[in-house]
């Protein structure tokens, strides 16, 4: 209160004292106390389910704490709704985007800050403001684009623009870099630095230690709902943080033997895809995928990687060209479907795990057989055997250390990392010959990343052909034996994994992107 102000040092921008929050039987936050100094960037890290998002949601008034106190600038505040949080100068970029997909960028930015009962006047002001923010921070997005049509990276920009548009003095970002390319991440960090310079306090949740070390001033580590450590960033290092997070030593470097490449499993020849709206998404893609190798597809998200995966998986039908999987040729004239592709030994870990990989309304044991519901081992001709399914689920969960080990629990109640492990387990368990993996570690904590990476490499060593799509260059560099770079639906380059480095890939991914942009 005033006492704090009177002793000279400015009060912390946010101070949390003894926050407790329970969801049913889960204690999501236990006696959490935290001080964030004004004008600093404060990192919060922790495993999946450690309680980071919950804590931030409490600050943002989305949840109400069971007990505890929030102080803003030394004043105790009662944040019972997002409106109160906004009034207190807090802005938040949510882990799962809070965007109305059918609205335009402008409408999304204006929502809640329309500046008058009629949209017209507010809209023109908002447009100018967006332009200003765009030039000031290099955050350009077409204000009239439909958000649902934008690539995730651009959606992320919209989220940040929303917060900036409201001139918040405290900005919370919950895993903002999960979907960004290194270049976009760098840019985001420049923005954060600029905000910091302007006195804005930033709270950053992330799973990427590199980022924490690069940009934050302080870092708080959470585990199991509690704060387990508080460090000045300058006084710590990646290994210490990783250990604090997971509670054990984590090996940050992946060890991998050179690939033993065998026969071609999947041959893609001049593949093109035109979507329902007539936009060409894939252009003349050709490559071979051999047994025993991991081919990484690098690219800024939204450049056709998703469509490539979906086409290879049989979800979309190619417009031209062909895919040869073992002896079956798939083309516009002889289309395939996901069930047929699976039967041919192709497994697919989809990028969008919430909407594709699991059925959130199913319990885990049902989601654990998604795509394999016709597997004869799971029951008779017409009926499924619940015991067999639960058993399968339990096996998968044990094999991949999915927590909690409760097949009956609703799929949506597992943290993202655990959902991801379950999906990977499911797709790897069917002993595929080809595995398509999209963004396997997006939003997943370090411990789990380590595990997932090792499993992917082990699968490769068993002779499976793996196609890995990731926007994490670190991941591509760590895993891929060969890297293909995609841009605007084309393959614009190929590098052997051991020769690739981040800078070079980044240039291939974006350099040409900028050329294209300039050309159009």
């Amino acid at each position: 209160m005033t006492a704090a102000a009177s002793n000279g040092a400015p009060p912390p921008a946010i101070e949390l004292v003894g926050i407790n929050k329970r969801f049913g039987s889960v204690q999501a936050n236990r006696d959490v106390s935290l001080r964030v100094e004004k004008g600093t960037i404060h990192g919060i890290i922790g495993e999946n389910g450690a309680g980071k998002s919950t804590l931030m949601s409490i600050v943002y008034g989305f949840y109400e704490a069971d007990s505890g106190e929030i102080r803003i600038d030394g004043q105790k505040v009662n944040i019972r709704s997002s409106a109160a949080a906004i009034a207190a100068g807090i802005g938040m970029v949510h882990q799962h985007f809070m965007l109305v997909e059918s609205f335009t960028v402008l409408e999304n930015v204006m929502l809640g800050a329309e500046g008058g009962a009629m949209l017209k006047e507010g809209a023109s002001k908002a447009r100018t403001e967006l332009l200003r923010l765009g030039t000031e921070f290099g955050l350009t997005v077409d204000p009239d684009a439909r958000v649902g049509d934008l690539p995730v990276g651009d959606q992320q920009r919209v989220e940040i623009l929303k917060a900036l548009f409201r001139h918040c003095s405290i900005l919370i970002l919950d895993e903002p870099t999960g979907v960004l390319t290194p270049q976009e991440t760098d840019q985001l960090f420049r923005i954060l630095a600029a905000l910091k310079a302007r006195g804005v306090t930033v709270l950053l949740i992330t799973h990427k230690l590199k980022e924490v070390l690069a940009i934050t001033d302080h870092v708080t580590v959470m585990r199991g709902g509690e704060v387990v450590a508080d460090r000045r960033t300058a006084d710590t290092n990646a290994n210490e943080l990783a250990e604090l997070m997971v509670g054990r030593k984590v090996r940050l470097e992946l060890e991998k033997t050179p690939a033993a490449i065998r026969a071609v499993e999947l041959a893609v020849d001049a593949l093109s895809l035109v979507d329902e709206r007539g936009v060409t998404r894939l252009h003349d893609i050709s490559f071979n995928l051999h047994a025993g190798e991991i081919v990484g597809i690098a690219g800024v998200s939204g450049n056709g990687q998703s469509e490539l995966l979906e086409t290879l998986a049989g979800i979309r039908t190619p417009s031209r060209g062909s895919i040869r999987l073992r002896d079956t040729v798939i083309s516009a004239d002889s289309p395939s479907d996901p069930a047929a592709m699976r039967a041919l030994g192709l497994a697919h870990v989809p990028e969008d795990r919430h909407r594709l990989g699991i059925v959130t309304g199913f319990p885990a044991w049902e989601s654990a057989v998604l795509g394999y519901q016709r597997d004869p081992k799971l029951g008779g001709r017409f009926l499924l055997n619940r015991n067999a399914m639960t058993g399968r689920c339990e096996e998968l969960m044990q094999g991949f250390d999915v927590r909690p080990l409760q097949p009956q629990l609703g799929s949506s109640k597992f943290s993202g990392g655990n959902q991801q492990k379950l999906i990977l387990a499911r797709e790897m368990a069917c002993q595929p010959r080809v595995l398509l993996v999209g963004q396997p570690t997006r939003g997943v904590d370090i411990g789990a990343i380590e595990f997932i990476h090792r499993e992917i490499v082990a699968l490769r060593d068993r002779g499976v052909a793996i196609l890995l799509v990731s926007v994490e260059l670190d991941e591509i560099l760590a895993l891929a034996d060969r890297v293909l770079v995609m841009n605007q639906g084309r393959i614009v380059g190929e590098i052997a994994g051991k020769d690739a480095d981040e800078r070079q890939l980044g240039l291939m991914m974006t350099g040409s992107a900028e050329q294209q942009r300039a050309a159009s």
Binding site: M92, H94, M98, L99, F103, L111, A113, E114, A117, L119
Partner: protein, 324 residues
Amino acid sequence: MDDTFLLALSTLAATIRMATPLIFCAMAGIFSERSGVIDIGLEGKMLAAAFAAAVVAAETGSPFIALGAAVVVATLLSLVHGYACITHRGDQVVSGVAINIVAAGLTVVLGHAWFGRGGNTPDLTPDQRLMPIKLPGADTLIEIPFIGPIYYHIISGHSLLTYVAIAIVPLVWFVLYRTRFGLRLRAAGEAPAVVDTAGIPVLRLRYMAVMIAGLLCGIAGTFLSISMNATFQKEMTAGRGFIALAAMIFGKWRPWPAFFACLLFGFLDAIAIRLQGVALPGIGHVPVPLIQALPYLFTVVLLAGFIGKAVAPKALGYPYIKER
């Protein structure tokens, strides 16, 4: 030739009349459903409003007080719907069904208690009703060939509420797409969590939306009982609420397309009336029930042939649950 012209005019005039209650209800449905609340209860609200209007018109003699009473009654029913589905997260369809049934029963119970005669309300005199309005100059302009009769038959000669119905469409469009309220309302139907994180109370928005829906149903009911007719009669809405719902979906939850869908339904009805008993070229006399089925058949064909896929507001039907 002249006869067919006049027939066409009368068909179009009938189209507009038949479409009037549908337009109000479809717009009501748009408000409610764009905010995320399914409104199967259009029928019941319209029926209750028709009853209230007829009763109040008979008692006070003023059609405008009657209109006000109808609007109040329909809005109260909307509040019940809101209390069940918004506050208590009850099933929106069940709530709507319940409202329809209660309205069907209660109007007759009350009507019979007050006036006897099985729920019919007293017959209204023209000054207690909203009668067709002859627009200025209709009688003189009719002499002008072509334009005159169009003016006289189609543009002039409707109830005040019919003109209101037509005026309300651009108004609804404007509110939905050009105002802050509309922006928020549409967002509430697509992604209520986004609205909430933007600091806007979702539940209040949805309450406003269902209340506006009630208001519009109130006008629709008033039109039926004191404009188109001169009395309330049990179940006199005769399924129009459901047809309006279909028109709203047909119009993909958008005001103008829904408006045209209402006109289309009105038109098909008007045509079917005029086709009864007429020998169709090449087919001869078609059994009456089959002629009566034509509007429905046409709708199905149109829907299957020309109208793209209708996508409902994303959060439609889901109560907004804010976990605390």
